[in-house]
């Protein structure tokens, strides 16, 4: 619906219709109340217009029931809108487990994208149709915001943290990617494209691109190039903790606190190692701030995610994504 209208955005993600439905409801609500107020004002202003400069209207009784009604009715309406919109928000903020991971770094004034399989893009993002895509967003400098109107999604890329967004494209095509958070001189040129491709085409694109090493493999290389491995050894003898099987697990800190070793914890431990010290270790690690790029940090995190616990199998080879449900084929709107 409205796909050809110059006054309405395309609907190209699984959320688009739901968001638009709430939008239309609110447009109708706004029109109703605006016309109600404008109509009442017009009727009263004409009916009770001043007929003589000496008009002195009488006191009008103010029924309490009326006051209660125009408190209760708006309250009931906003409660409904709250739950409706909250339901949408929770869905938009909860990526499915089988989503395809994509890492995005905002930088003045471009979007840098890394796929798990190693493809890197600038101001372009190729994604398969009908597959949920999870974006981990960060920034190298100031705050940016990843905005795809056709998908109805937007999420800030904040330096120093990883924000997550996700979408599932439902219509092949090229869609605008905007930076929506003002980021300086050339903010309005920080525009890219999302290319939604049929899954088969997407596989061909993955195969045809100049894929280097996978993200995790690049991280592994960085891990040895930066000599992380000299301290973070695969046994318990290193000066730093063994990282095998750490990702996603609770870590005991000096002082008794516990944190979950997620992306932000790993990032912080590389950039500001002294912020949180693992119990039983000395604060001897130097900072790697400025030595590793944001993309490099993402590669290291991807590598650490693949490290299994002691005695576990080797990191699994990274392959291209599979469509979520091959039997049904890509989902159509």
């Amino acid at each position: 619906m409205f796909s050809n209208s110059p006054f309405f955005p395309e609907q190209a993600s699984s959320f688009a219709r739901d968001v638009d439905l709430l939008y239309f409801f609110l447009v109708a609500l706004t029109a109703f109340f605006t016309l109600l107020i404008a109509g009442l004002v017009a009727v009263f202003a004409i009916q009770y217009r001043r007929r003589s400069p000496h008009d002195r209207p009488d006191y009008v009784v103010e029924p309490k029931a009326l006051e209660i009604a125009w408190i209760a009715v708006p309250l009931a309406i906003v409660v409904v809108i709250f739950f409706w919109s909250a339901y949408l928000y929770v869905a938009i903020n909860r990526p499915p487990r089988n989503a395809l991971d994509v890492y995005v770094v905002g930088k003045r004034w471009m979007w840098k994208v890394q796929h798990m399989t190693g493809q890197r893009e600038i101001n372009e993002l190729h994604v398969p149709l009908g597959v949920p895509v999870k974006l981990s967003l960060t920034s190298e400098d100031v705050i940016h915001s990843f905005y795809v109107p056709a998908f109805r999604i937007k999420k800030d890329a904040v330096p120093g943290r990883y924000n997550v967004a996700w979408f599932e494209a439902t219509r092949p095509g090229r869609y605008h990617l905007f930076c929506a958070e003002y980021c300086g001189t050339k903010h309005s040129t920080m525009i890219g494209w999302i290319d939604v491709m049929e899954p088969a085409q997407f596989q061909a694109w993955l195969a045809g691109g100049p894929a280097g090493a996978s993200l995790a493999a690049a991280g592994q290389k960085l891990f040895s190039d930066l000599a992380c491995v000299t301290c973070h050894r695969a046994d318990t003898q290193g000066r730093g903790p063994n990282l095998e099987g750490v990702f996603g697990k609770p870590v005991k800190l000096e002082g008794g606190a516990t944190v979950i070793a997620d992306e932000e914890y790993i990032r912080e431990s590389i950039v500001t190692p002294s912020a949180k010290i693992v119990a039983g270790y000395q604060p001897v690690m130097p900072t790697y701030q400025g030595l590793v790029s944001e993309e490099g940090l993402l590669q290291l995190i991807a590598y650490i995610q693949t490290l299994k616990g002691p005695g576990g199998e080797a990191p699994p080879p990274v392959t291209g994504p599979e469509p979520r449900d091959k039997a049904q084929g890509p989902r159509r709107p």
Partner: protein, 544 residues
Amino acid sequence: MTTLEPQPHQPPPREHYLNVSYGWKSWLFTTDHKRIAILYLASVSVMFLLGGIFAALIRMELLTPPGDLFQAETYNKLFTMHGVIMVFFFMIPAIPAVLGNFLIPIMLGAKDLAFPRINLLSWYLYMTGAGFTLYSLFYGGIDTGWTFYTPYSTVYSNTHVVSAALGIFISGFSSILTGLNFIVTIHKMRAPGLTWFRMPLFVWAHYATSLIQILGTPVIAATILLVALERVFHFGFFDPARGGDPVLFQHLFWFYSHPAVYIMILPAMGVISELVAGFSRKRIFGYHFVAMSSLAIAALSFLVWGHHMFISGQSAYAGLVFSALSFLVAIPSAIKVFNWTATLYKGSVSYDAPMLYVFAFLGLFTIGGLTGLFLASLGLDIHVTDTYFVVAHFHYVMVGGTTMAYLGGLHFWWPKITGKLYPEGWARLAALIVFIGFNLTFLPQFVLGYLGMPRRYHAYPEEFQVLHVLSSAGATILGVGYLLPMVYMVWSMRYGRHASANPWGAKGLEWETSSPPPTENFERQPIVNQEAYGYAPIPAEAHV
């Protein structure tokens, strides 16, 4: 103009606050709240003109998709200065410092505010703040947006952030002192018989506003200080490279700047209450509900700041709480709109220029308020935040609401302030032009925003052009509508007919003294023995 007086050419009173003394010293060292109001009127008018010129330049650039009129850097400075000047130096002081300053002591039957010299200090602080901000403007400008988001403002921007921030910091104290002055005056200086629930709703609205000013403004002052410290001395408050948190800035900034929105709209609501009563010659329907809704808005205003950050990565639970609380603001706002509308029922409604602004306000504020529901809606805000939808929404509230009320109020009290009548025909024409121009400027921006046009874009993809052209066309009409009153009001100060004490036949203490009032406001101490808006006797059983 509907006047009750058969002889409009009666001579003015022999001595009043305007002719009691002459010379620049008698103005710059005055402690008379009425003269200080005039000083503010001149200052905010200059700022409004300046902010308006920036808006016109912005709209000119946006006529065409490529950034062809200005450099990107210049454009970014234009929208920053438009925002900084309009928010901090026009919207926030306009109604309280001009109309509030002039009217609150008179409406209370007092000779002046509680602290007349602090009142003058407020104006000097405002001027000093404006001076610093204008300094950054003329010596290269500032390009951070009026929101000063970190780490852009503290690390990356190469413009005059510190001096502009210092200007806002200083003018913040002007706002705090004005709020303090109003609160003390309202508590301590009401005329005999003027109980709390006999006060005009204009005073109630300013009381609520003042609470926000003294509780919220110190937070923005502290926040701006942190920005300056990080920028100059490289402290790590907000810069992640120094261990800071950029989102912390947003929490602090919006903790003030969302309540600041109510600093702008609450006094406007107070003006509308006076105008609706005056031009329908009726007591405001549901007086107590309207008075209390101002306090409810002031209280809720401090609990909703997180709705500016639904996509910043703040926790989803925080998002849910902030969304729910934001929806609640709709209730007191709805109470007001319904009660104003009901006041017209069985009234004696006239169509003088101030009332035309009221009609415009009721329609535009309703749209502005209801589009706020779109933005409080979590799942929908994700799509529309940081787009022209937000720009349209807050212009409907700030320009369609506050500026309409300010202009309406200025026309309503103009005879009292200057002792002269403005030309009614021109004024009605201007009100009509403003209404048409405003809608043509900002309605297309709602459509643009939903279409996905991000705000603060110097250049934009071609598919957005039609709507931008409509918006720019509307802005030229709006500009004419704003220039007209500036011309005919200045004209009326010299050539306007003399106003009587009560040209509108309105109720309220300000209409019981002469126009313009004497320096001490009243010849004799007024004594209040009836409810506000006593157009008709209230039956005993109706008393609450």
